[in-house]
């Protein structure tokens, strides 16, 4: 092999990887830009989240002890419901003017499209969470800032889990007649292991305790869930969208 050839083989994979990431980033930027300009989904999702936070106050007596015991469950239910609005629109918004067909025939692969949309949805959901958590703290008198680092990791892992599952099933149901009905039926049971883990960890952290060896399994569940479903999503999205 000539020296020039060996240089070419060492440089090319990096370039290909970079190009791959750039393709996914383009999809993500497109989604975020169109959302920033219209603000349809984020506004709906945020108002829905606030309405659920309000409704919870009627469901139980919002005393300090009760809220401390169920804070994780409350917050994650809010995010799971409000998140479904964001995730439902993720592929559905591409149906108008056959944009989905245009995206599929573009040089961007299904996996890039999926990961780009995942990251965009992740950013939108995190935005909703960043606004809702302080509001929750004020409404229900919870001091949530005591273990900010661990809480941030929990929310990042949990939100990625919701996002990956939601984006995948959004792709699966995009062409169905009963899209709005089928998505929640399929998505929520699928999310449960991740939701359970995130709820347990958030409750522990919001109560002011650190994550002990006893609760470490929930971190493992979240990380395992994220890795397994990201791989499954990337592997099967082409099958789902193209066949």
């Amino acid at each position: 092999m000539t020296p020039a050839g060996s240089i070419a083989t060492t440089v090319k994979p990096e370039l290909a990887a970079l190009r791959w990431v750039r393709g996914a980033a383009a999809v993500c930027a497109k989604d975020l830009r169109s959302e920033l300009r219209s603000k349809d989904t984020i506004n709906a999702s945020l108002s829905f989240a606030l309405v659920i936070l309000l409704l919870f106050s009627f469901a139980f007596d919002p005393g300090v002890d009760t809220v401390r015991e169920i804070s994780g469950g409350l917050l994650w239910l809010v995010f799971a419901f409000a998140g479904a609005l964001v995730l439902n629109r993720s592929y559905a918004r591409e149906l108008v003017n056959d944009c989905l067909d245009a995206l599929l025939s573009s040089p961007v692969s299904g996996a890039q499209l999926f990961l780009g949309k995942c990251v965009a949805n992740f950013v939108l959901l995190v935005a909703v969470e960043v606004i809702c958590i302080p509001v929750f703290g004020i409404f229900y008198n919870v001091n949530w800032t005591r273990h900010l680092g661990q809480l941030a990791i929990t929310f990042a892992l949990g939100t990625w889990a919701l996002t990956v599952i939601g984006t995948m099933f959004s792709a699966m149901t995009v062409n169905l007649r009963l899209r709005e009905l089928m998505l929640p039926i399929l998505v929520y049971p699928m999310m449960i292991p991740a939701l359970m883990a995130a709820i347990q960890l958030t409750t522990v952290l919001m109560a002011g305790n650190t994550v002990s060896a006893d609760n470490l399994i929930w971190f493992k569940v979240l990380i395992g869930f994220d890795i397994i479903f990201t791989i499954l999503g990337v592997s099967f999205v082409d099958t789902v969208l193209i066949g």
Partner: protein, 227 residues
């Protein structure tokens, strides 16, 4: 040929199941702590393993469908999932009856029970997804992916009694290093499992025949429309 296999399997399953039930109710003694109700384990555990076997068969045929694009594999996956959901329902109901007698409650939200319920919901969702898609190719493709995703929960159900401290009893079968059963008490579980797997196979074969006939009717209808 298929009919003959179904009849032979049906006779074999009926004979084996009757013999097992005779042994469980007439020969085996009551359990020391639980009394007579422990006998539900001979339906509960074999049904659980049968339902996982069905879901595994659905997983394998879904992967085969995606690899080979042969609609027969989609038929197997659909049939196996339907039968699996029936056995999953039996698991939940028999478990609840046992819990009512031993724990005093029908249900508790521990990891085993919750993950099994989620498993039931996921595969029920699979069946609903099948009904929601009209185009056969698209239905087969999406349902195959759904089946692969749903199977991850079967692994969680299987391992949950090791990963978490559950109210549900820990492993009792010797293959999982349980060894919690007296001599002669474990064998009927496996014989019952064999009988239920035969029953499940019969149901899957009958269901697949329906699926074949439906495909035939569909193609005849298309042919008639073309005329």
């Amino acid at each position: 040929m298929r009919n003959r296999i179904i009849v032979i399997l049906a006779f074999a399953a009926a004979a084996l199941l009757s013999f097992n039930l005779y042994k469980v109710f007439m020969v085996l003694p009551d359990e020391l702590n639980q009394g007579a109700i422990y006998r539900i384990i001979y339906i509960h555990v074999p049904s659980a393993i049968t339902c996982f076997t069905c879901f595994f068969a659905a997983l394998v045929s879904s992967v085969l469908y995606l690899a080979k694009k042969d609609m027969r594999f989609d038929g197997v996956a659909a049939a196996a999932t339907e039968v699996g959901v029936v056995f999953a329902s039996i698991v939940l109901v028999t478990g609840s009856i046992w819990a009512r007698i031993i724990w005093g409650i029908w249900w508790t939200w521990d990891a085993r029970l919750t993950s099994m319920f989620v498993c039931w919901l996921l595969y029920a969702g699979y069946l609903m997804l099948r009904r929601a898609i009209d185009e056969p190719g698209q239905r087969a493709r999406l349902c195959a992916v759904m089946s692969i995703f749903a199977f991850t929960d079967v692994i969680i159900v299987w391992k949950s009694i090791e990963w978490w401290r559950t109210q549900h009893p820990g492993p009792v079968l010797s293959i999982r290093n349980g060894g919690g059963m007296g001599p002669g008490m474990e064998a009927p579980i496996w014989w019952n499992y064999l009988a239920l797997v035969m029953l499940a196979t019969i149901l899957i074969m009958v269901r697949m025949r329906q699926e074949d006939i439906r495909r035939e009717i569909d193609s005849m209808r298309r042919w008639a429309h073309a005329l």
